[in-house]
């Protein structure tokens, strides 16, 4: 490692500015929570009910995270490292559930198995839509991993299981925990699935508190509890990652490894893959088809097309802006790790753990006071998306920049390029697939977002999700089905892109 140079001032200022933007909603939350004094805060936090809710939220998040880790890592290993028949198709299929909004998956399940309501229903639905957060980064890490290590292990007579445990797993650990963190925080912040499954968690209570008492204080206090949980989890993950640092000297050879023969395990592996696809994709798809056939009220094509256009435009814009803002933070944390990038990254993860309504109300509060002209205009809506989903992009940027040896930049500079020029010509180009992946992830997540969009969208503007919400509110499921299907189809495009190999040489 060359001696660490000081971070460029411009980069630091940019990252700090992004940090301020992301921390603002947390500040608003603290303000709302303490509005009626500390006594109320203490009373709310120490209520037996609150502790029970924390337990339920943590229980669900932990279960979803554990199941996502197992499914995500197994799926990625099957399509990259084994001779599973049809693995080119499976690689896309395993990623696709990410395109499903949790509420669409939950409707499908509750319609099919009403008895699932409760913890198990929430667990099944959340796991089926969250495991791709683990699957995708592990997929990328396995493709990047140097096969030589595994070959050495095999040549020393280790069996496939021991090779997997001793070598492969070590190579994907960082990617897997990064993904697990996103899956866990998603389970903490999700409202759609838990409310349809009637499983009470902190987030569900926050929404219900707004709806039942029109009182923002308890909701804000519970929001602060969520933020604290998120920060503890993020800090734990970061500490663990630092202990697990891996440095690669060179890129190794990027050649295909001889796949592991599944042999007698082929049939069980295929059955398992099919079962997973059936649970995560089959049930919601079958339900959507059933809805499309139910009743006669059909959406107007014009409205569907215009909502689809709006959704695409907003999602693309949000993806570009979010990645642009994630760049300084991600680059700083990869190249010049320190307190500032760590703090901004943690705040971004905390934003991801917050319910959409909480972030949206904070944006309402700030924008109407600071930039009243922009309130309920596209920029403020995009800002809310940034707060909610910056963590998705920061992770990708950090990982892809970190995988580029810093020495390459130095070579380019010694050949007469400016710092910025060298960065653009070398690091950015090498990291661009990962950065693109971050953009795709933000893009598809924004397409599914509802609560913040509902509160902050410009007047008269409808996205697919807001139309879907309006129609289900009027109980016209048949008219809502085309919108649900359109969200899934649109979000499936960036999702499929994410599953394909990033580079071909």
């Amino acid at each position: 490692m060359p001696a660490r140079r000081r971070a460029p001032a411009g980069l630091t200022v940019l990252a700090a500015a992004v940090g301020v933007a992301v921390v603002a909603p947390l500040g608003h939350l603290a303000l709302r929570a303490t509005e009626r004094g500390w006594d109320e805060v203490e009373a709310t936090v120490w209520r037996a009910r609150t502790l029970e809710l924390v337990g339920r939220s943590l229980g669900l998040a932990a279960a979803v995270t554990a199941a996502s880790l197992v499914i995500g890592v197994a799926g990625a290993w099957l399509v990259v490292r084994s001779d599973l028949p049809g693995r080119r198709v499976w690689q896309v299929v395993f990623g696709l559930p990410l395109a499903l909004p949790s509420y669409v998956a939950a409707w499908a399940w509750i319609g099919w198995r009403p008895g699932l309501a409760g913890f198990w229903g929430a667990f099944v639905v959340m796991t089926s839509v969250s495991y791709p957060y683990v699957y995708l980064p592990v997929l990328a890490a396995l493709r990047r991993a140097d096969p030589a290590l595994e070959e050495v292990a095999r040549s020393l007579g280790r069996g496939p299981v021991r090779v997997f445990l001793a070598v492969t797993l070590r190579q994907v650990r960082v990617a897997a925990t990064g993904g697990a963190l996103l899956a866990g925080l998603y389970a903490l912040s999700d409202f759609g699935a838990v409310s349809i499954m009637r499983h009470q968690t902190l987030t569900q209570t926050i929404y219900r508190s707004y709806r039942a008492s029109f009182d923002r204080t308890p909701a804000a206090i519970l929001g602060c509890v969520l933020v604290l949980i998120a920060l503890v989890v993020v800090a734990g993950e970061a500490r663990w990652r630092r202990a697990e640092r891996q440095d690669r000297v060179g890129a190794g050879t990027d050649r295909p490894l001889t796949p592991v023969r599944l042999g007698r395990a082929t049939v069980p592996a295929l059955l398992g893959s099919a079962a997973m696809a059936g649970l995560a994709l089959g049930v919601p798809a079958w339900n959507l088809v059933r809805w499309l056939h139910r009743g006669t009220s059909v959406a107007g094509h014009g409205e569907l097309a215009s909502a689809a256009g709006t959704t695409l435009g907003l999602a693309a814009l949000a993806a570009v802006v979010t990645v642009a803002l994630a760049l300084p933070v991600g680059v700083l944390s990869a190249r010049h790790p320190g307190r500032l990038p760590r703090a901004v990254t943690s705040a971004a993860y905390a934003g991801h753990a917050l319910p959409g309504i909480t972030v949206a109300l904070a944006m309402v509060f700030f924008s109407i006071r600071v930039v009243p002209g922009l309130y309920q205009r596209t920029p403020v809506l995009i800002a809310a998306y940034v707060v909610l989903f910056l963590s998705l992009a920061v992770g990708s940027v950090h990982a892809s920049v970190a995988s580029v040896p810093p020495g390459l930049d130095e070579v380019a500079r010694s050949l007469g390029r400016s710092r910025w020029g060298a960065w653009r010509a070398v690091t950015f180009r090498l990291a661009s697939p990962g950065i693109g992946a971050g953009a795709a992830l933000v893009c598809l997540t924004v397409m599914k977002e509802l609560p913040a969009t509902l509160l902050l969208r410009p007047l008269g503007v409808d996205t697919l999700a807001t139309r879907l919400w309006g129609l289900t509110g009027a109980s016209s499921y048949a008219a809502a089905a085309p919108y649900a299907a359109a969200i899934v189809i649109l979000a499936a495009v960036p999702t499929a892109l994410l599953t394909l190999p990033g580079r071909s040489r």
Partner: protein, 361 residues
Amino acid sequence: MPTRRWRAASAVLTLLVLLAPACGGDDGSASGSGPVPSSVGDGTDRELEGTTITVYSGRDEELVQPLIDRFEADTGITVEVRYGDSAEMAAQILEEGSETPADVFYSQEVGAVGALAKADLMGRLPAEVLERVDERFRPHEGTAWVGVTGRSRVIVYNPDLVDDPPESVLDLTDPQYEGQVAWVPGNASFQSFVTAFRVTRGEDAARQWLEDMQANGVDGDYESNVDVLDAVSNGDIALGLINHYYWARALPEVGGAENMGSRLIFPKGDDPGALVNATAVGVLAGAEDESAAQAFVEYLLSEAGQSYFAEEVFEYPLVEGVDDPEGVPPLEELEGPAIDLTDLDSLEETQSLLSEVGLIS
């Protein structure tokens, strides 16, 4: 090296960003009907032509937008509408404070407007506007809001399956109805009914009734009022607790009451199961154009507005002289618990009770 795929993807993305302002600016609420001439003598004139008001609506676009289109055509006032959930909108207006762009808030229930009135964000309505509706449907104190339409709780039953129809929700705990009744504990109207039960009969009586219903095998697995109505009409279950207008809306589809597989019971006296709740509207304290905002409120209470709700939405008009919806008894005949609708804001206690007895989690 970046591959061609990513180049293509980023080109597409750039194109989309450039296109973003082009799409989505258009108003997605194209309603099928053109301007409808206003009914005679609803007192609207065109002196406010050219002004613009912003309405926050906690009621569904499908129900409200056609009437707003008529209001615009009749008065020349431009109405910008924001649709959302009543309670979340109330939270939004509380965050916006005095800066709120909203001039009018039209809510699905009284509680949300009541919360804004408590925070001094609602303006005042003229007494003559309030006096158009029965005092049941206006605030007992202040003039922050006025009821627009009435929605009655009812018992729906299938005459082929029920020999001895109940007269009150209290009868439903009788063994003869065991396993025969459906309800939707997560539904807001159901929760308002339980709130009325608690407020008028006390916590213990409400809890007792809920537990007795459970002991009697009540079915809570239906997703919505519509599902309960369909199940009762089809004979899947004998009785259900719903709002009256779901049944009334289904009438034209089947061609009249004689073809409906189900009938309604409007309980008598102060039975909480006879609660008549209201949708409510008010003008915000900071409304920029108060007269145009008032005009909108008055339009909802005009003959045109009230007939629209009666004929299209099948809710009860609250203003004298407008015909009640087809197929249901007139509003005068409806009784129900004598409460101030603002007192239904103790929803939180209701939800605690419902989760204690295990009806909602």
